[in-house]
């Protein structure tokens, strides 16, 4: 299973990852459109993003969430009806939506943010599911 991992001890909270993510997928630098969100808790930086746990797959009311060949959890935009059930059910709070979008979005472990992170605090790891 491929998933994005965040090294809390290295991250300095620059949020370049958020910019890279929202720019890559929504052509804007706006963290509300980023699938990774860095939060600051007394200068310890925590990353909120999908762990690829797949809890949302079975609860999806449109059967629109699946694992791809790399075991990454993906949303089929054709099937998704934008009910936002997965947004409410995600225990990681890693499923996001914006009112101008028809479907939610999430981290798909693409690695774009990994390349942009100046501190090398992000890494894509593969593990046996």
């Amino acid at each position: 299973m491929k998933a994005l991992h965040h090294k809390q001890e290295i991250c300095d909270g620059c949020r370049e990852c958020e910019k890279a993510c929202s720019k890559a997928y929504f052509k804007r630098e706006d963290r509300d459109y980023s699938a990774i969100r860095i939060t600051n808790n007394f200068n310890t930086f925590h990353a909120v993003m999908c762990t690829q746990c797949g809890e949302c797959i079975n609860m999806c009311t449109a059967n629109a969430i699946y694992r791809d060949k790399n075991d990454v959890v993906r949303i089929d935009k054709e099937l998704c009806v934008g009910c936002l059930g997965c947004v409410g059910f995600c225990t990681e709070l890693a499923m996001h939506y914006m009112d101008d979008l028809m479907v939610p979005f999430k981290c798909i472990a693409c690695g774009i943010c990994v390349k942009k992170c100046p501190e090398h605090a992000l890494v894509i790891l593969s593990s046996q599911a």
Partner: protein, 710 residues
């Protein structure tokens, strides 16, 4: 198969703020298809859903119209909020017609995809009038803007096969099957009066067609009488804003908040995601409310055999989404998959059984004295695929069984069936007879009101006893609660528009357990507020369950927890967010009151709707038999002492039963007075002209009817 009799192309109406602005009229007799404008008056006064159904039905029928006259209409509408995907329970279709059971309008609602797909195909409502010459299928393709009426030869009779055939036929490919929904009845609906309608949706996980039912009042019987084998709608392209709502941000926000509540609280509260409405079986049993052997008692030690846990552990598939419309995270539509049938034409086959819902387990289980989960699921399956209203069937057969138990009818009278309480084999055989139109099936399919006459006239049964134990009012069978110790609930069933069902008010806990509404005025207030509030779901295309089968964590801190104030506010906000209007909680009730009073006047117009029509049978109010009295002797004796100042020690059993009866019947009359007053009706149950004027429902045709009764 399927010769095309009529083809009609249309430009689908553009949906704006929940309405397409158009409704579809189809006369299956002369194959006329017309488009009608949805007027501002309709939106203002009737809102949608059941309101639109009743509006069109009123125009279609005359006071003397019978259910099987060609002018009787089946009208369907899903309401302005129907089809939004962000909140749970938003896919209901409301259906109305003049009922073969009650001869007055019946409205019934169903999940499944038909209503929302109909709206997205361009229609706020669908009227079906006339009678076809030969059996037909009506197909609506919302993407192509095409309506076709085709002959139905070669199609299966029973819904689980028929709906699958039609879904495959009209879907473009396997992926498209989720975009097709079928409305159909089943083989038994040809031979009985309480035939129901199945509303299908395709489950891509199980790769099978599933159903929800508009079950009450004989709608399936009417469909087949019109020679409509099925209705099919296809629409591809569901998205979260097909309703073109006024404020999508508001709808999204409320939706996510609600989904989180469901994630965090359902397991601690009702466990709807695990078992659905059947979660309450053991609770009802413990509180003496589980109807057992025709509502004689409120429970049985054997109820543990049909407990929620038994179904969860042995039958119901867990852990996957089970909603009957998109976005419903309550997900209560459970199924038993790979269920092997032991009887009937499909014996030996493995099928998917939807449910069981509470009414199923209580009705087909305890109320028939059946405590075998396998048998209950098999009965459930056959009710569904044969098109039998499960509640009317269960309550009617419970009545027949008690008539047999008390020697009022014989085994021979039932064509040899040994319909003893608990004999599930005989129950299933009776269902199969209904499907084939043979034996005792068609007679048992008349419903209790007509059977009382038959049993008295043909078999010499005692009419007074039949009247006392036959659990029907207005011609409709009661739903499954043994509620005789709750006066408010006696009213909740009998003081209703379409007959005794549980979609107006469920007040048993509030009344009998909490003792929250001791006075007649307090009971009357509850019998005003809850029926009006719940009528609103029927105007909107919403399901009742997400309102109070889960509540916010801080609900106990609110002023009236039973109303679930935060969820009511959600509904107000969603209505405003969809329509762009600005209603509040008071106006929400007003919207319902208009339609509720219209329906009451509609009953008057059809020769019913008066005080004399709101009477319950005595079984609903108190102990009919000696055994019933004895089963709760302490309670009844205590009431004699405390409420009537009598000494039960000095009375014999029959005397105590008679005195209790007289008292309880008086109490019901006093309750009726209080409820009518609160609802703005005369002592005869007629809405006053002042009240109608105040509501803005003093439409000329309404006033004309009411004047005859004032």
């Amino acid at each position: 198969m399927g010769r095309i009799l009529k083809s009609y192309e249309y430009e689908p109406g553009k949906i704006f703020r929940g309405y397409t602005g158009k409704s579809l009229y189809i006369n299956v007799g002369d194959l006329r298809i017309e488009e009608k404008e949805v007027t501002q008056l309709m939106k203002d006064k009737f809102i949608g859903g059941k309101g639109f159904d009743l509006y069109y039905l009123w125009k279609a029928v005359k006071p003397e119209t019978q259910w099987n006259d060609p002018e009787n209409e089946i009208v369907m509408s899903c309401g302005p909020l129907g089809g939004i995907t962000q909140y749970s329970g938003t896919g209901k279709t409301l259906v109305a017609a003049i009922s073969p059971m009650t001869d007055i309008p019946v409205d019934s609602n169903a999940g499944g995809y038909f209503g929302p797909l109909l709206k997205f195909s361009g229609w706020d409502a669908l009227e079906l009038q006339g009678k076809a010459e030969q059996e037909i299928v009506v197909f609506i393709d919302g993407n192509k803007g095409l309506i076709q009426i085709e002959t139905a030869e070669g199609l299966a009779e029973d819904s689980h096969i028929l709906a699958e055939e039609l879904t495959r036929k009209y879907a473009e490919d396997e992926k498209d099957m989720v975009n097709v929904s079928v409305v159909s009845a089943g083989s038994a609906a040809r031979h009985i009066l309480y035939g129901m309608l199945n509303f299908s949706f395709y489950d891509p996980r199980r790769k099978t067609v599933r159903f929800k039912q508009a079950a009450r009042g004989g709608l399936g019987t009417i469909l087949l009488d019109k020679k409509i084998k099925a209705l099919v709608v296809r629409f591809k392209g569901i998205n979260p804003n097909l309703n073109d709502v006024a404020d999508i941000g508001l709808i999204n926000k409320i939706g996510v908040k609600y989904h989180k509540e469901m994630r965090d609280l359902d397991e601690k509260q009702n466990g709807m995601r695990k078992i659905g409405t059947a979660n309450t079986i053991l609770v009802m049993n413990k509180y003496d409310l589980l109807p057992t052997r025709n509502f004689q008692t409120g429970g049985d030690p054997e109820a543990v055999k049909i407990s929620p846990q038994v179904f969860i552990e042995n039958f119901l598939t867990q852990g996957i989404h089970d909603g009957c419309w998109y976005g419903c995270t309550m997900s209560c539509a459970k199924t038993a998959d790979h269920f092997k049938l032991l009887t009937g034409p499909y014996k030996g086959e493995c099928v998917t059984v939807d449910g069981p819902e509470y009414e199923c387990v209580a009705g087909l289980g305890s109320n028939l004295g059946v405590f075998d989960p396998q048998a209950i699921l098999e009965e459930n399956f056959y009710c569904d695929t044969y098109g039998i209203d499960l509640i009317s069937f269960a309550t009617c057969i419970a009545f027949i069984m008690e008539c047999y138990q008390r020697g009022q009818i014989s085994q021979e009278d039932m064509g040899g069936l040994d319909l003893r309480f608990g004999n599930h084999e005989a129950v299933l055989e009776l269902m199969h007879q209904m499907s084939r139109g043979e034996g005792f099936g068609p007679m048992a399919g008349l419903g209790i009101r007509k059977l009382k006459k038959v049993f008295a006239e043909k078999f010499g049964a005692d009419p007074q006893l039949l009247q006392d134990i036959g659990m029907e009012s207005k011609g409709l069978e009661y739903s499954e609660y043994c509620h005789k110790e709750s006066l408010a609930q006696q009213g909740g069933f009998a003081l209703t528009n379409k007959g005794p069902q549980h979609d107006e008010a469920w007040l048993i806990f509030m009344d009998m357990v909490n003792n929250q509404i001791p006075s007649f005025e307090e009971k009357a207030e509850a019998l005003h507020y809850y029926p009006m509030f719940r009528t609103w779901f029927g105007l909107m295309g919403l399901c009742k369950l997400p309102w109070n089968d889960i509540v916010p964590a801080d609900n106990h801190l609110t002023d009236i927890p039973a109303r679930v104030p935060e969820h009511v506010q959600n509904y107000v906000d969603i209505f405003n967010g969809v329509t762009g209007m600005q209603i509040d909680k008071a106006e929400l009730i007003r919207q319902s009151e208009r339609v509720y009073n219209f329906q009451r006047v509609f009953n008057l117009r059809m020769g019913s709707g008066l005080r004399q029509h709101d009477k319950p049978p005595y079984r609903s109010m108190g102990p009919v038999s000696r055994e019933e009295y004895e089963s709760r002797q302490d309670l009844y004796d205590k009431q004699l002492r405390e409420k009537q100042g009598l000494d039960p020690e000095k009375m014999d059993l029959d005397e105590k039963i008679a005195v209790t009866r007289k008292y309880r019947e008086q109490q019901f009359e006093l309750l009726t007075d209080a409820v009518y007053k609160r609802r703005g009706w005369t002592k005869q149950g007629v809405p006053t002209l002042e009240h109608l004027a105040e509501l803005g429902m003093d439409l000329p045709e309404v006033v004309e009817v009411v004047k005859q009764y004032l």
